[in-house]
Amino acid sequence: MPTPNEFEISRRNLLVGTVTSVAIGASHGANAQNAASRSHAPAQGMPATAKVSFSVNGEVRALELDTRTTLLDALREHLHLTGTKKGCDHGQCGACTVIVGGQRVNSCLTLAVMHEGDSVTTIEGLGTPEHMHPMQTAFVTHDGFQCGYCTPGQICSAVAVLDEIKAGIPSHVTGDLTIAPQLTNAELRERMSGNICRCGAYSNIAEAITEVAGRPA
């Protein structure tokens, strides 16, 4: 175990590391041209940084980041979009699920600098308290959460799952691979297995998704 002192030191190092990252709002075109496909050679003892710009919830964001920054940390710590949650930070829980280019991914297991030009949708982009996405409304209606920590990831995942079924992507429980997958409870549950809920709100989550999918549970 590190002593409290060691903790202090590593926290300070961490702060030094983040000073180099600045969020600048700018037009995408201009940034795409400047965007380095290579990080800056770091000064002695300093972490390497790189520029990247991608759109988040429809708004272009340009950042200069420590190359180690995950998409999750870029969203939360640099863009202050804290709706996306950090659970395990290792791809094991799904709390960090966001939609990139129409596909759900674990934002903790991808580097921000690898997303030049991408378009990212987070829970904040799906809907607002005043104008909720139908999936957000359904989670409220069906009590699809208890503590709510896994919920943003569940909702982003659920929205993408319905698109995946529409696109005909099969799953582990799809019976016949040569025909389009059906919208069954078993299909929804299998497809949502990458989102763990510590509170065990699963049955209500499945009901919420089923309602949006337009089928009785």
Binding site: S37, A41, P42, A48, G91, Q103, T110, I169, S193, G194
Partner: protein, 316 residues
């Protein structure tokens, strides 16, 4: 995580050359295995070469009547491809049994083949591990070994290869195509890609430094019933304890590869010859020379029973 410099490769040869030019560089594709290990400082590259910009994202017919799968084709896209679902159902099934929807959207064909073991001692940097730190010893031997290998293990390492997709690729006789830093290309039969641990468990494949996988090809379809059966601790989103990938023809002949038992996909031709005689006969040959531990000897019975389930499912 250790600091690293980053570049996006714009040609395969440039990527391979960049990797060879830096003593501690790694390619990054989906990042779902590499970043996990970098966070734990099990992997500590000083330079990352992002290969996602390379044009290896297609599945195309080969002249031989098979398919060429680009190294960057995502696991979701591969599993959902109509030709794969129709003619290589085993591959779709194996892919869909692995990880989660989110992870499969990122994970690539090459990255999946090259993912590293899930041995818990490999993941715990406080433990000795010959794979992580050559020569430090193996904490698994004499430890908790429920997940570990029963075949092909050594005094240095008893880890398994965790990929489901690789089991299907092995049964389908896939070939891995690569480019080396000097620009030369080669084709490696999947059987020769992964190595047994021997005394050098840190050397996991026969790829050389900087060698880049460009595609994986499948020979022309062989027909038959395709089944992938994975036995695990929960119904989804878990690695296999044991898995069986099989192609069974009407006359009962076929192919079978087994996962969760060794440092590489396990396939024994003499065992396949026993398929018409049933699971026990196949298992006896397949598990010949097995060296289970007290914790994982259940895998021997589990392989036989999973085989029996697969063969009976194939009969319909």
């Amino acid at each position: 995580m250790k600091s690293f410099t980053y570049e996006k490769a714009n040609s395969p040869a440039a990527a391979a050359a960049a990797a060879a030019g830096s003593s501690n560089a790694r390619f990054i594709a989906g990042g779902t295995n590499l970043l996990d290990l970098m966070k734990l400082e099990i992997e500590t590259p000083s330079h990352l070469i992002d290969v996602n910009g390379l044009a290896f994202d297609k599945i195309e017919p080969t002249q031989e009547g098979g398919l060429r799968i680009g190294a960057l084709v995502r696991n979701t896209a591969l599993a959902a491809d109509e030709r794969i679902r129709r003619d290589y159902g085993l591959l779709s099934r194996a892919l869909l049994s692995g990880a989660s929807g989110q992870l499969r959207n990122k994970a690539t064909t090459a990255g999946n083949l090259l993912q590293r073991t899930r041995c818990p001692y490999f993941y715990d940097t406080n433990q000795p591990c010959n794979k992580r730190t050559p020569g430090s010893g193996c904490a698994a031997i004499g430890g908790v070994t429920r997940q570990h290998a029963v075949l092909g293990s050594s005094e240095s390492c008893i880890a398994t290869h965790p990929s489901d997709m690789a089991i299907a690729m092995r049964a389908l006789d896939a070939t891995v195509e690569t480019v080396r830093p000097d620009g030369t290309t080669r084709a490696i039969p999947i059987a020769d890609l992964h190595r047994l641990p021997g005394e050098t468990p840190h050397i996991e494949t026969t790829l050389s430094a900087g060698e880049l996988i460009t595609s994986v090809t499948l020979p022309k379809p062989v027909g038959g019933t395709h089944i992938y059966r994975k036995v695990r601790d929960r119904a989804s989103y878990a690695f296999a304890l044991v898995s069986v990938g099989a192609i069974v023809q009407r006359d009962g002949t076929g192919r079978v590869a087994v996962g969760g038992v060794a440092h590489k996909p396990w396939r024994v031709e003499a065992a396949e010859a026993e398929m018409p005689r049933g699971a026990k006969a196949v298992a006896t040959r397949l598990l010949d020379g097995a060296r289970p531990t007290r914790d994982n000897s259940f895998k021997l019975a589990l392989v036989e029973r999973t085989l029996a389930a697969v063969l009976s499912e194939a009969k319909g």
